[in-house]
């Protein structure tokens, strides 16, 4: 048994080595094609925003997505809070469209996962994305991580975990790291009940990193969503 | 007779001003007790001490033999008072005021009693009007209604004729006499006017600058034999000489040249007049006032009293 698994590992390594024959550009194209198979989806999600100054409970809602860049969180009477409009929370949106230059950065191992790193530079220098770095699991042809440098919204890091919808390359859980600016309102305006702050231990005040966690509970894929869904306020 | 209220050595100062100074007196059941003193003499302060509104620096008040501070709530059930002005809730009707005060008296007072009291004070038919629309006289009468709604034995009426017109004063006097005679109330009535007290009181107390000047039965204090009669005549030495030799000399008091002054019972005035005329005296006027009154006048300088008596 042990022998067998040793062989299996060897075969696995070889095969991955063989895959190296695929260039970065080819790999990127394959990924994009796979993603494009999902034209739209409606997903039940739970979103948790972890930003130091925001105290928001987990928001349950329906997330609508339509390729290439339409997205909306519907909270059924509640408020929806999303990152500012330029960047959506889907992988396909973290990767530039149009013609790009792909730089192959080789393989890294993160959390025991062997991932190929690609740097993608869009040729259109007017677009929102200046540079995207993606970590690809070549075996499953899935994007495991992205790091996108945007024109206006800083650098956004995304980590994805897959489950039930792996065949569509749709994640079950997405964690997005965002840079957050400081938030401060004059006390005279808010007339705070000070006691609260004084009693909680002072956290790292300069912690400006935040995360947004999206748990996808179920997807309905390629049902053909009307554009009107996104225009509604 | 049984003593219903007794004050012993009441003393009260406000800052440096001594408002009441070692004042003692007693009121017997059934009396109408006059409490006389000029404005600011300490009447109101005394009355407030009697009902516990002002706490004395020294001295005690006894009601029916019980010290007031030991039985305030119980004792107040048997006292009805108007203090200074009959102030009420102006935005409420007379009926509402009366009903409220009845409820506060800790006695089970029936609606019937309210009607009865309104009848006594003569406000029947006006009870539904707002008190703020009442005349001063109606307010005084409503004050008395409030004071007596719980049928107390002792009524304390502080200047009940204040602000009333002559008719009102006369009505009030009749009401007080009726409360005493027909309803058997013991009444303490304060005033700065002697004649007012004189007309209703059986006993009286006079205070000046917080101190007792005099007290006793009105009939004693105002004994007719102490009436001063002033006869204005043209100066005539002969008359004076014959007077000194006559029986009238016993009543003669020192006076100026234009007048003769006698201290005697006023019933003697007609015979005195006859005698003077017989002696050839030119009598211009005869006026009498009680010696006590002139005494009171001297200390109080009360213009109202002067106007009435001279």
């Amino acid at each position: 048994m042990r022998k067998f698994s040793a062989i299996a590992v060897a075969v696995f390594c070889l095969s991955s080595f063989a895959a190296r024959a695929v260039s970065g550009e080819q790999l990127f194209d394959l990924l994009r094609k796979k993603m494009l198979t999902v034209k739209d989806y409606t997903a039940e999600v739970k979103m948790k925003i972890n930003v130091s100054y925001m105290r928001i409970p987990t928001l349950a809602g329906t997330l609508y997505f339509k390729s290439p860049d339409k997205m909306k969180l519907e909270r059924h009477g509640g408020l929806s809070i999303m990152l500012k409009k330029n960047i959506n929370l889907t992988v396909s949106n973290m990767i530039p469209t149009g013609s790009v230059t792909v730089l192959d950065m080789g393989n890294v191992t993160i959390d025991g996962q062997n991932l190929r790193v690609l740097k993608i530079i869009p040729e259109d220098d007017q677009g929102q994305i200046i540079l995207a770095k993606i970590w690809v699991d070549e075996n499953s042809m899935l994007v495991a991580r992205t790091e996108t440098t945007t024109r206006n919204d800083g650098t956004i890091k995304m980590a994805l975990q897959y489950g039930k919808y792996i065949s569509y390359a749709l994640p079950d859980k997405v964690t997005i790291d965002v840079d957050v600016k400081d938030f401060k309102l004059p006390k005279g305006v808010t007339m705070d009940y000070n006691e609260v702050r004084d009693e909680t231990p002072k956290k790292e005040t300069k912690n400006r990193k935040g995360t947004i966690q999206l748990n996808y509970i179920s997807y309905q894929i390629n049902t053909g969503i009307d554009d009107k869904v996104f225009s509604k306020k | 007779m049984e003593i219903i209220l007794e004050a012993v050595g009441l003393t009260k100062s406000f800052k440096k001003h001594k408002a009441v100074d070692d004042l003692s007196f007693a009121i017997k059941r059934g009396e109408v007790y006059g409490f006389l003193g000029q404005n600011g003499a300490g009447k109101s302060t005394t009355i407030r001490m009697l009902v516990g509104l002002i706490i004395p620096d020294k001295g005690k008040v006894f009601i029916n033999g019980t010290e007031f501070i030991n039985g305030r709530r119980h004792l107040l059930k048997n006292i009805g008072a108007i203090i200074e002005r009959p102030d009420m809730y102006g935005y409420l009707s007379g009926w509402d005021n009366l009903k409220m005060m009845a409820a506060l008296s800790n006695k089970n007072i029936k609606q019937q009693r309210i009607h009865e009291v309104l009848e006594i004070v003569g406000l029947k038919g006006r009870e539904k009007d707002r008190v703020s629309a009442y005349s001063q006289g109606m307010k005084q009468r409503m004050g008395i209604a409030i004071a007596m709604i719980h049928n107390p034995d002792l009524l304390i009426l502080d200047e009940p004729t204040n602000g009333l017109d002559p008719q009102g004063i006369s009505d009030m006097r009749a009401l007080i006499l009726s409360l005493s005679r027909d309803h058997g109330k013991t009444i303490l009535i304060s005033s700065h006017l002697l004649y007012e007290i004189e007309q209703v009181a059986t006993s009286m107390l006079i205070i000046h600058k917080g101190k007792k000047l005099s007290d006793g039965r009105v009939s004693d204090l105002l004994h007719p034999d102490d009436t001063l009669t002033e006869v204005a005549i043209a100066p005539n030495e002969a008359i004076k000489a014959s007077l000194a030799a006559s029986a009238w000399s016993a009543y003669l008091q020192p006076a100026n040249d234009n007048a003769l002054l006698f201290k005697m019972n006023p019933s003697l005035i007609p015979s005195l007049n006859k005698w003077l005329v017989a002696q050839g005296a030119e009598v211009r006027s005869i006026a009498s006032k009680h010696s006590f009154e002139s005494y009171f006048l001297n200390i109080t300088n009360d213009t109202a009293v002067k106007n009435r008596t001279l």
Binding site: I56, L79, K84, L185 | F14
Partner: protein, 279 residues
């Protein structure tokens, strides 16, 4: 005592002045609601400036819960004045009218009278707060609908889910009631000193204004006294709109308010029992 309380309530609610407070609460609420109907969007945009740079917020932000919160916040200064209108008048008004000597020459103890004045003011305040709840909360919900509530603090953005809000309002109104009871007891104390009602009403207002300023000033000098000022604790109702709710702090605030109330009440009884009624 119950009889005395009934009479007290009868007097309070027979007087036109009492209803001015209800009218003022209604008017202020209406004005804010109207302003929000016409100009709420830009108000929200302004308030959310800091957040909307980075986040898109969609949905009924300007809902009844938020409007009610805004109204409550605005009325923070006015309600004590309205409470003082009745509580400050309680003893001084009777003195001014001359009815105090009428009451106290009846078989009523002075302590009873003070307690009844306190209870009367309490009931009036309770009704005022209930009225406020109806006008500020329920009417706003009717006009602006339900929704998740955004609560902005100087250093935090708090979102409360709509099903998680009503109990907070119930608790907040109860706390506001406690805070206003403290104001009422202070007003009654001031009222015991005075022989006309303007003095205690104005003094109550003055104290509330000055202490509120002290409570809100960010100066080291004042931070020493701040925890001891009741105005610092009066806004404890806001704690219920925080997440997590700072129960320890709210409990402490409630304790301070109760302590102040008892101190004011005891001082009133002690002073009033010895007071010479000269009015």
């Amino acid at each position: 005592m119950i009889q005395l309380l009934r009479i007290e309530l009868y007097k309070i609610f027979k007087r036109p002045r009492t209803y001015i407070s209800f009218a003022i609460v209604t008017a202020i609420s209406f004005i804010i609601q109207l302003a929000m109907i016409s100009d709420g969007k830009s108000f929200i945009a302004f308030a959310l400036q800091g957040v909307s740079e980075q986040f898109d917020i969609h949905g009924n932000v300007l809902n009844g819960y938020l409007i009610a919160y805004i109204i409550l916040q605005s009325l923070l200064m006015q309600i004590p004045l309205l409470v003082a209108l009745v509580a400050g008048d309680s003893l001084a008004g009777e003195a001014g009218m001359g009815t105090l000597r009428l009451l106290l020459s009846k078989p009523v103890s002075r302590m009873q009278l003070v307690l009844v004045k306190f209870m009367g003011s309490f009931i009036y305040t309770l009704l005022l707060i209930i009225w406020l709840a109806i006008i500020a909360l329920f009417l706003s919900l009717l006009l602006f609908g339900q929704g998740d509530m955004i609560n902005l603090k100087s250093d935090a953005f708090i979102l409360l889910l709509k099903d998680d809000i009503m109990w907070r309002y119930a608790a907040a109104f109860a706390f506001a009631m406690l805070a206003m009871t403290t104001i009422a007891s202070m007003s009654i104390l001031l009222s015991a000193f005075a022989d006309n009602s303007i003095g205690p009403i104005m003094t109550t207002m003055g104290i509330v204004v000055v202490l509120t300023i002290l409570s809100n000033l960010e100066l080291p000098l004042f931070s020493l006294v701040k925890p001891y000022l009741f105005t610092t604790h009066m806004i404890g109702w806001k704690g219920f709109f925080d997440d997590p709710v700072p129960y320890a702090a709210i409990g402490k605030s409630a304790f301070v308010l109760v302590a102040y109330t008892l101190i004011f009440l005891t001082a009133t009884i002690l002073y009033f029992n010895r007071k010479d009624i000269k009015s």
